[in-house]
Amino acid sequence: MKARITVTLKTGILDPQGKAIEGALRSLAIPGVESVRQGKVFDIELSDAAAASAEQTLKDACEKLLANTVVENYRIELL
């Protein structure tokens, strides 16, 4: 089975990369851009054996490595 994990910075954490991208979009005159926050996406394939406990397995993966929960949130989607 497949899963997608999205990691984003928590509200209030400075995101200079997002700000720079925001500035670049403005300079391209893309209309209506109010703000940009940059995140990361992980597409993960799980073995059939792991599928039964996928939610917990992926939560562990996020807590142990994929996200630093001091500054980041994560979202797990089973596809």
């Binding site: 954490i13 400075l14 200079p16 990369q17 720079a20 490595l65 630093n68 001091v70 500054v71």
Partner: protein, 231 residues
Amino acid sequence: MRAAVVLFPGSNREGDAVNALRAAGIEASVVWHGEHGLPAGTDLAVLPGGFSYGDYLRCGAIAARSPIMDAVRGHAARGGLVLGICNGFQILAESGLLPGVLVRNADLRFVCQFQHLRVERADTPFTSCYREAETIEVAIAHGEGNYTADAETLVRIEGDGLVAFRYCDAQGQVKDGRGPNGSTNEIAGIYSPNFRVLGLMPHPENLIDPLVGGTDGLKMFESLAESLASA
């Protein structure tokens, strides 16, 4: 009096760390990150600067999960000394040995310059050869040195006196928001609650020789040699 300098793929200051340790009379060897233990008799584990794993995922994130880090955690739990410099500080934060996280410099620039620091306390194994509130000049070179922690953690580390160094000007004045990278409270380095683990972004190991800009960094290694000798 033995130090083990851990080499991760992408470390590049391990030689500088070894030179600085030896200049202070500390026996130093380099240990590969894939090892499961530190050499017998290790008093001090050093995580050097560099770009472990190419800064993939987050700076220090993957190195913090390498086999040797369990040994470093065990060493710290037994009261052993641990020093993390620059990427080594990022690894300590990612491994949970120190609180908080180092994020991208506030102005997005990689800073590479001489930098003044204020020594917050001179009663630790890392700083006994300095004076309290002394201003020293060392080098900084990092893109992700912006120290951030949640409000509760900040109150605790400030309240317990766990800040080791702050960025300051040549007169020793710490000016909030005027430092090189946007760090909260101008924090350049922090201790563990028992003052046996230190992580800092600046490079004291590069300031040990007058030929390359000064010797203000040498006292950190002399402090360590002293504390190891008296242990």
